[in-house]
Symmetry: C2
């Protein structure tokens, strides 16, 4: 359908910078957000709060306004136990890929809170949504997956503001997640998230706090005009 | 290196929910952020502001704390002209993939602000960073690309709070971007962004305002326990 104002100029509105206090709140969410594995409280998340998080995710940018995401909410103990078993199988394989001291340290890391967190959400990407030819996806087929990740990050930051911790669990065999969640072939499980209220968070990335890796200096990642700049 | 507190418990700090005003600011950034193509003002972005945006991006979560991103800042008119030409070549191909009324409407859409915006940033993913075996990337090789997208979304939301518009241009042949930006093979150009101060933004997604696509109802995207739920 063609609107009466094809240039959509009537849909423009003022967009000033935020106040200092508002801006500080946005940066606080960005800088204090953590990938949570162990700090989840068992209290359930109320439905209105969950809807605010999903609305935040749904406000993400998407290529061609494709909105390829779906949100599978997982609360039942039985489903979470099966997901937990799928994680364990993959994590045993993962651990064997490290050697010596790294393997020993890896074995001490808690990398998921699937059964501790009261809510899990799998955010998927429906690669068939919007048809075969999607505006903006014509030259990079993966841009729909990237849109879905933007939704994940929106949800994650909203959750921080709500006092809710989020952990992204990525150690699964794809086939296991597909089987437990009954995903059709055209749907990709992009992010498996654990969510719960938290009272404490790490003040730095947990993998740094536990000696696995260090934050890198930003100034080494800034280049000018080209990779060589 | 192993810290003296291997469980890192001394790095935990209090993490309450934000105040109502802070929380509203985070949601305001999320819901009023737009993909900007035409509203850029020519004023340069000052260095301190650009650094705040890059620090926000660098605070993103990353698989195994891999931090695979780099930021190529592009300001020179010559570089932007070459990128603009690369867009045009790809966009001519893209337009030909649509037919009839859709092609006519596509041809009226402005899909980039490469030479209008005073700053372009290409955010890349270095797939070799952190070595061959990366914690959390063992079972999905694309999780480093996803981490890079989280950095993009952090920057985008921070920019909104700063009164800066951001547009993600995705219509390029990969080989053209690699040639102009001199990217090595192990580095993927994930997002090509145009940035500039804005006074106005669309109050809804621009592709909806211009009749290309509609926002989908969130309640149709929420499932329970499995895809079929």
């Amino acid at each position: 359908m063609q609107p009466s104002d094809p240039q959509g100029q009537d849909k423009l509105g003022p967009a000033a910078a935020f106040t200092d206090a508002e801006r500080a709140a946005v940066y606080r969410a960005i800088h204090s957000r953590r990938d949570v594995r162990s700090q989840f409280l068992p209290d359930p998340l109320d439905d209105a709060l969950v809807m605010r998080l999903l609305q935040a995710a749904h406000a993400a940018p998407s290529v061609g306004l494709m909105q390829p995401w779906d949100f599978i909410l997982i609360r039942q103990a039985d489903t979470r136990a099966r997901i937990r078993a799928a994680f364990q199988a993959a994590n045993d394989e993962a651990q064997a890929m490290f050697h010596g001291e790294r393997r020993a340290l890896y074995s001490t890391l808690k990398l998921q809170g699937i059964t501790d967190a009261p809510l899990n959400i799998c955010i998927t990407c429906d690669r068939a949504r919007g048809g075969d030819v999607v505006l903006g996806r014509t030259h990079n087929r993966d841009t729909d997956l990237f849109s879905t990740v933007c939704a994940v990050q929106n949800l994650w930051l909203a959750a921080r503001a709500e006092g809710v911790g989020v952990g992204w669990v990525s150690i699964f065999r794809d086939s296991d997640l597909r089987r437990v969640l009954r995903l059709p072939d055209h749907v990709v499980p992009v992010a498996y998230l654990c969510l719960g209220h938290v009272r404490e968070l790490y003040t730095e990335p947990e993998l740094q706090a536990k000696g696995w890796a260090q934050r890198l200096p930003l100034d080494q990642m800034i280049r000018r005009e080209s990779w060589e700049g």
